[in-house]
């Protein structure tokens, strides 16, 4: 019991840090609220889906970035998808990078695009790791009312 409480506390802390460090935004809470008895792992499922789908996008963008000259319209389109997708799980930092990337796209800034995309991938990966740890702990702790400690 004691141990479980401790675990739950850890889960709560991990979760809180996701918000505090700006990795995720309120959309993440929105997802948590969708979680119910019918879909107890809804958030995790959605996140998994997001990573699966975004891997495909990243690959496409990587590929596009190798072209000369860059097809900015195409890149913008991809990034638009990426941004939309990121917004689905509330991946705040990733989304910010997407916006930045699109700005560089419209400015025709090749270097800016490439640099931003690297940063985007870093954020994308960092979030993934954070979330993996969080979900892992959450599973160990069992079902819990994480929504009670929402920020703000």
């Amino acid at each position: 019991m004691e141990r479980n409480n401790h675990l739950r506390q850890q889960v709560a802390n991990l979760r809180q840090s996701l918000f505090d460090q700006g990795y995720v935004d309120e959309q993440f809470i929105e997802l948590e609220e969708l979680q119910d008895d019918a879909t107890p792992n809804f958030v995790e499922e959605v996140v998994t889906l997001f990573y699966k789908d975004s891997a495909r996008l990243i690959h496409s963008i990587d590929h596009s970035l190798e072209n000369h000259p860059l097809d900015f319209a195409k890149l913008d389109n991809y990034m638009h998808q990426f941004k939309g997708s990121s917004s689905s799980i509330g991946a705040k930092k990733v989304k910010t990078e997407c916006t930045q990337f699109m700005e560089y796209c419209s400015a025709g800034n090749v270097e800016g695009c490439k640099r931003t995309f690297k940063q985007l991938k870093r954020e994308h990966t960092a979030l993934k790791k954070k979330l993996e740890v969080y979900f892992q702990y959450a599973r160990l702790a069992g079902p819990t009312e994480t929504a009670s400690c929402r920020p703000k």
């Binding site: 929105e30 969708l34 879909t39 638009h80 939309g84 917004s87």
Partner: protein
Amino acid sequence: MMENSKTIAGFSSPRTDIFPAGLRVLVVDDDPTWLKILEKMLKKCSYEVTTCGLAREALYLLRERKDGFDIVISDVNMPDMDGFKLLEHVGLEMDLPVIMMSVDGETSRVMKGVQHGACDYLLKPIRMKELRNIWQHVLRKKMQEARDVGNHELDQYDEMWMLNGVERLSGKKRKDFENKHDEKEMSDSRCVDSSSMKKARVVWTVDLHQKFVKAVNQIGFDKVGPKKILDLMGIPWLTRENVASHLQKYRLYLTRLQKEDEVKASFCGMKHPDVSCKETSSSLSLQNPVDVCTDVTKDKYSGDSGDKAIVQNGKSNIYESKVKGVVLMPVTEPRSVVGDNFDSQVAGSKIGLTESFGLVNTDVESANLPIPYCSTGEAPQPQYKQDFKPHFQSANGSSHQPLPVVSHQIPVDRTQATCFLNHIPSREERNRHPDAENKPSFFKSKCGVVGNFSPIESTVNLFQPVSQQQRNVHILEQMPSTTWSARSCNVVNGPQSSPGNLSLRSGSMVASVGEDVCGASIQGECFLANNGLRNIEQFDYNDPQPISGVPTCLYDTLRFDYEYPIDSLEGIVMDQGLFIV
């Protein structure tokens, strides 16, 4: 069910808790993550959700199940088809409320969405509280539709709708509902009551649309503006906004039409010399199918005082407001015939699905119907046949049909023809479950069959060139027993069929042609499909007999005393290409 009727009778408040529940939502997004989230959210709102990752697939679904959804939520950016394009299709073909969504809140994009007819534009991330409220768009749309017709029974209407929503799972219920809806339309069509309505939507009747097109052509398409059109049209009650919105739709339609022009040409054997005319007509059909019907009713009413009773009878049969085309083929059809037709129909429908060719179905259908009375039709037949044949064949790829039928159906150069086409497919699809089985169900549902007679959906377009009008009259006279289909419900009754055999199909289309429509229309629910009859006035069709045997669906009297302004026909000339649209 019982409760429903009770409530309706009591005119209780339309706001029922049950209403939004069960709202059928189609979500279209290429992003699987969002699709999953939206599905969950919508389910939590107690909506019935269908998700779709491709716009084309969505369009397919929508066409296949015409009446299967109440609202569409679509992403703007999709790889296979621009969300705006989908929006346009849905708006024109299904007339469903569409909510666009995107991460991009740029004003120009939102503007574009709204201009294309989106009822709302949501920004991602979408919150559940936003989705909870989407039913309002459905309700609003329904109310608007009711308003178009008149608003007397609006409350009741809403209520029915809502109640219906609850039981929509059972298609039957819905159908009832629709019938009622139509009924209302019918009965209310005359009254334009502005009192409780915020703003009455203009019913763009054929006549009105023609004036509109005339004005547009006069001004020149490039310089055209709502104000100028309004001035030229000289309709006192029309507002600039009315014209502006119609112009917008018209433009959209023309744009689309141009793109598909080639296709059309290939489909229809005929070519149109006058592009503008063609467009006009087609746009008409697409945009205001309902309106046309309504209009017809109105005219009729105004003309006849005795119609009320008729109308009431008709009520049960009336279909949805959406039905536009009035086709009338009096067909007495043996079941077997139907079977034969089936193949072709299916083929037609498939075609429709692929693109915007849904219309083809219609033609095919009509073509397929063997019309007993064809033989009676004298002079006109040959002409029609010729026209029609090519068309028909192309549509099906192979023609199984007995050509005779075709002859009557040929829609020639009529604006209205277009109308039919559009709608017809919808009807079919609506009733239809996946292809193969459709037929049976289709027929059944469409026809409120009374007796053994299987009505056919003959959607016959009797559109004939003006010059042939005389002949038309002739034909009509010859078929005394032939029932004319009324607005939405076509009463098909073959000359040979005994009264008991008459079948009525509620889902049928109204074939109305321009002004003719009015004339055709009428009598209650039975219409005459006559297109191109300039001389309608001359002809009185009072043949109670055939009808008398018919159960409620049919009307006591069939009379055609409508006068049409013949001039209006001018602009109507269309080409067959429209059908394909």
